[in-house]
């Protein structure tokens, strides 16, 4: 108990005492995971929509791949990205290993299937005749697609939350492809692992709490947007 108490005190000191390294690590975490989430949304949403709305041979396999990808272990992603980007690896000449870019790539691989899968489910929950009715009152295909996205905006926000939540909190891939280099690729999760390993439990707890607060703040905001104007469910007794 004493440990946790000390940790909290230390955390408050670190956060509000203006420890520049903690803030730098937090900022880097946000930058890497934010960029990775953004890229995943840009690719994952169109991919999810395509999987939900189109029929093509091999679609079942593509859907199964996406669903498998939703549960991809970050360590495995880290392993394969490392092999690829290793100096002697197939794309080693890019010299990306142990850089934030490599971490972003790994996190995109983790978040993309999650975003695509949740998007697909969001679109499949719409009435299949909705698009037809929109076109029936004069929507172009592009307009109909945009209206469908707006209609599915609540579950699409879930895709954002799930994608960001997965990458901000993963440690395996970041550790392996980033290398946890101080001032360069050290993020909240890898720093927590390091501090715990060194026995600095108070610092580890402080970093963990910052990570939790970050996730909570973001999800609080998105949930607020998502739940605004939701119809109330009747009380089920």
């Amino acid at each position: 108990m004493e440990l946790i108490g000390q940790g909290i005190v230390k955390a408050i000191e670190l956060v509000f005492g203006g420890d520049s390294e903690v803030w730098a690590i937090t900022w880097l975490s946000l930058k890497i995971s934010g960029t990775a989430t953004l890229i995943s949304l840009l690719w994952g949403i169109p991919l999810g929509i395509a999987l939900a709305l189109s029929r093509f041979p091999g679609r079942a396999i593509a859907v199964a791949l996406v669903n498998t990808g939703m549960g991809l272990p970050p360590v495995v992603v880290g392993l394969f990205i490392s092999i690829l980007f290793w100096r002697s690896g197939p794309v080693g000449f890019l010299e990306l290993i142990y850089t934030p870019s490599a971490m972003i790539i790994a996190q995109v691989v983790i978040a993309l299937p999650i975003v695509a899968g949740v998007t697909m489910a969001a679109f499949q929950s719409l009435d299949p005749n909705l698009a037809l009715q929109l076109i029936g009152i004069g929507a172009s295909k592009r307009q109909a697609l945009w209206l469908l996205c707006k209609e599915a905006r609540l579950p699409l926000l879930a895709a954002v939350m799930a994608g960001f939540g997965a990458v901000i909190s993963e440690v395996g891939a970041s550790m392996m492809v980033g290398g946890n280099i101080r001032g360069q690729t050290r993020v909240l999760t890898t720093a927590t692992v390091l501090e715990t390993g060194k026995g600095n439990f108070d610092a580890a707890i402080a970093l963990g709490l910052i990570l939790l607060a970050l996730c909570f703040a973001l999800n609080l905001f998105l949930s607020h947007v998502q739940q605004r104007g939701q119809l109330k469910w009747p009380r089920l007794s």
Binding site: L132, L134, G136, I137, G138, Q143, L147, E151, L231
Partner: protein, 359 residues
């Protein structure tokens, strides 16, 4: 007849190896056509093809004399509006939903207000304008969906069983509202339905769709009284069908003999031809045996036994069994009560020869 507004030429729609639709069809400016048919006849497919929402497997669609292609179909669709059985409204207010078609066409906010307000009032949903569409009742939602289409001032309004999901009183008032609106605006409309009452209330011309083929298309009275074949007769509600043989023709009158009687029917049939005599249920009267009610001498009388009585509020549907087959009569409740008939009783079915249509 005015020019064809929309024409389907040799249109065929296939689903795999089965043909869902195969017909020629043209709608003229200013008319209201109702296509009736049982479930699975291809009614919705017909409307989707007409509304350029589905491309036919073969054949072509002409709008204002111009063939629809992938390129010009959006421009054509913007002169049409479709209303469906289930009005799927977007999450938003009634006003937003009703304005959607105008928004898609790039109307400005003040133009939308000017166009939309009168229609919201006309359909009686102006007071709901700021309500969220998802909290509406079925009738209110369908009214919203009708405004959404009508406000576009379409050259062609396509209605896919718009009343089927509504309860009876809502359906009747909305049907009459729509009838008035179509008469006032002169909007060309095509509605598909399985409901004969709706067809009778709205359709100037009636089409009969059966297994994807248009069996008949003509003025209401003609289609309801002179179906071209037995399938059409069954769809338009000519429930009584008696197998008969033509005996001799004098002028335009042919004497038909059937099991247990004979009748003089208008029409020229070769002697010995197998003919089906069709009679609408409301044309058949029922009386007790031998009470010799005042009926015309030329009337056809058939001895029957009451097989089943289906009571309702205003009229009773009575199934009768006779030597020549089964007859169905529709009798008003007061006159049925006066007869005090029960299932199993003997009764005399009578009808005028003019009510008989031979096919």
């Amino acid at each position: 007849m005015a020019e064809a507004l929309l024409a389907l030429c040799d249109v065929r729609v296939q689903h795999g190896s089965s043909t869902v639709l195969r017909l020629h069809f043209a709608v003229h400016v200013g008319e209201v056509v109702v296509v009736i048919g049982p479930n699975g006849a291809g009614k919705s497919t017909l409307l989707r093809v007409m509304g350029l929402l589905q491309r036919p497997s073969s054949g072509s669609v002409y709008f204002h004399g111009e063939q629809a292609t992938a390129k010009n179909s959006l421009a054509m669709r913007r002169h049409m509006a479709s209303v469906f059985q289930e009005p799927l409204l977007l999450d938003g207010t009634v006003y937003d939903n009703a304005a959607l078609g105008l928004k898609l066409r790039g109307f400005r906010r003040d133009e939308i207000e000017r166009e939309l307000r009168p229609w919201l009032k006309r359909l009686g949903i102006d007071h709901l304008a700021e309500r969220r569409a998802r909290t509406l009742s079925g009738g209110e939602a369908q009214r919203t969906s009708l405004v959404r289409g009508l406000v576009l001032d379409p050259s062609l309004l396509l209605l896919d069983e718009p009343f089927a999901a509504l309860d009876a009183p809502t359906r009747e008032t909305l049907l009459l509202d729509l009838r008035e609106i179509l008469a006032e605006t002169g909007i060309t409309a095509v509605m598909v339905t399985h409901d004969l009452k709706e067809a009778a209330a709205l359709g100037q011309r009636i089409g009969v769709l059966h297994r994807g083929e248009l069996l008949q298309l003509g003025p209401q009275l003609e289609v309801f009284r002179r179906p071209v074949n037995e399938a059409a007769a069954s769809i338009v509600g000519m429930e009584t069908r008696i197998a008969a043989v033509a005996e001799r023709t004098e002028g335009q009158i042919t004497t038909m003999r059937f099991n247990g009687g004979s009748a003089n029917v208008t029409g020229d049939f070769p002697a010995g031809a197998q003919v089906t005599l069709c009679i609408r249920p409301e044309d058949i009267r029922i009386s007790r045996h031998g009470d010799g009610k005042s009926c015309a001498k030329s009337d056809v009388h058939i001895k029957t036994k009451i097989a089943r009585i289906a009571p309702s509020i205003a009229e009773y549907r009575i199934s009768l069994r006779a030597d020549c087959g089964c007859l169905t009569a529709l009798v008003s409740k007061p006159s049925f009560d006066g007869l005090s008939l029960r299932e199993g009783d003997e009764a005399l079915a009578s009808f005028s020869p003019d009510a008989i249509h031979g096919i």
